[in-house]
């Protein structure tokens, strides 16, 4: 599905980034959709070169553009603006708190192009804006699971209803780890290797524990027990123990779970009475951290054994 982002959505962005924008034209056109992720600096265009004019992007006027326009005659400006606004411009932003000239404002109002002034310098503004726009256009999916930050590793717990995801998360929280979302995890593909998980804003940091009901984790365990978003680095599936299933005993081959075409390391944790699942999850997190640092326990032990066997064979 092609996503749409309105100019209004940028102003009211969910990341709560303050772009320090002041709207200097009317509110008309504020519900226009932005279709291009990129931005454009219209320097060349203002100088009269209209080939390859990326008019469908957000137009950013920095100090250079503003200074250039200032030294043009009124006639020349009108000429340029007539041509500039003959394109279907989405929106214009002037940075460094520089206001456009009155001719520009007139044209912008006439063509219903929302024009803003921001206090931010150009580079800073572009980086903030890119952040908002990319997040809005990112592919996303919701997954039934629990996302928890264990020793800095974002672990997505999945498994059938009633297998104990929330209970496992509760004990992990009690042990000092942080909850991101329970039951409904929204996952966004930020780039080709990064999946960011967060919870629905409405129910953020709440959990349902059978027997108690709905809990506000932040109120009960404090601010240290929660965070709003976290990169997903490991998927752990809790499964009812089944004597007929073969569970991985070595962990030499890494298994992956695919979310939005990205491969995430994946483990299956069989659940049965007497197995302390939170401790297994904690250990899996530590093992994942080791792997990230290039230490692979299972493979290294195997290598050591093979070397020992080779040595023994030589001694025979």
């Amino acid at each position: 599905m092609k996503k749409q982002l309105r100019i209004r959505d940028i102003l009211e962005n969910t990341q709560k980034i303050d772009l320090q924008l002041t709207l200097i034209t009317g509110r008309e056109g504020i519900d226009k959709a932005i279709t291009a992720i990129e931005i454009n600096r219209p320097g060349l265009t203002l100088a009269g070169f209209f080939d390859y004019f990326a008019y469908d992007r957000i137009q950013i006027f920095g100090l250079g553009e503003t200074a250039y326009i200032k030294q043009l005659s009124r006639e020349r400006r009108e000429e340029i603006y007539t041509k500039f606004f003959s394109y279907d411009i989405v929106c214009c932003v002037y940075t460094h708190n520089e206001y456009p000239d009155e001719v520009f404002i007139e044209y912008a109002k006439e063509h219903r192009v929302p024009t803003f002034v921001t206090q931010h310098p150009t580079t800073r503004f572009i980086s903030l804006l890119t952040h908002i726009v990319e997040a809005a256009f990112a592919e996303s999916v919701t997954i039934h699971g629990t996302l928890i930050d264990v020793f800095g590793i974002g672990i997505l717990l999945i498994g059938k209803s009633g297998v104990g995801k929330s209970e496992t998360a509760l004990e992990l929280i009690e042990r000092g780890h942080r909850l991101i979302a329970d039951d409904l995890v929204e996952i966004k593909k930020i780039d080709e290797s990064l999946l960011m998980g967060s919870g629905s804003e409405l129910i953020r940091h709440h959990m349902e524990i059978r027997g108690i009901g709905i809990l506000n984790v932040r109120d009960i365990f404090g601010i240290r027990s929660v965070r709003n978003r976290k990169r997903i680095e490991l998927v752990a599936e809790l499964q009812e123990w089944d004597a007929n299933t073969h569970y991985d005993r070595l962990g030499i081959e890494e298994q992956v779970y695919i979310i939005l075409d990205i491969e995430v390391p994946y483990i299956i944790v069989p659940v049965r009475p007497g197995r302390n699942i939170p401790i297994i999850i904690e250990t899996a997190a530590l093992n994942q951290r080791l792997k990230k640092m290039g230490v692979f326990s299972a493979q290294e032990l195997d290598k050591k054994i093979q070397e020992w066997i080779a040595r023994e064979n030589n001694n025979k």
Binding site: M1, H144, S161, L184, E186, I203
Partner: protein, 91 residues
Amino acid sequence: MKEKKVKVKSDAGVHARPASILVREAMKFPCDIYIIKGQMEANGKSIMSVLGLAITKGSSLIIRANGEMEEEAVDRLSALIENDFAELASK
């Protein structure tokens, strides 16, 4: 797999109590049940998941069931939503 579209008519939307009724009914069926609103897909057997959808009056939902008794599950849950949870609330 079975699916049905429903529209929420209740002024109160789906707040905690209707959600708990919905989940309780969903739990009676062995199949997997999903409630879909826009791009969000909630597990019909999880209270937090259903609440997280923020279902209000006028929300269009898709009830999807997959597995044993999927037909009955979809019929039961969509009837429940369309009838404003009336039959259960009165009990």
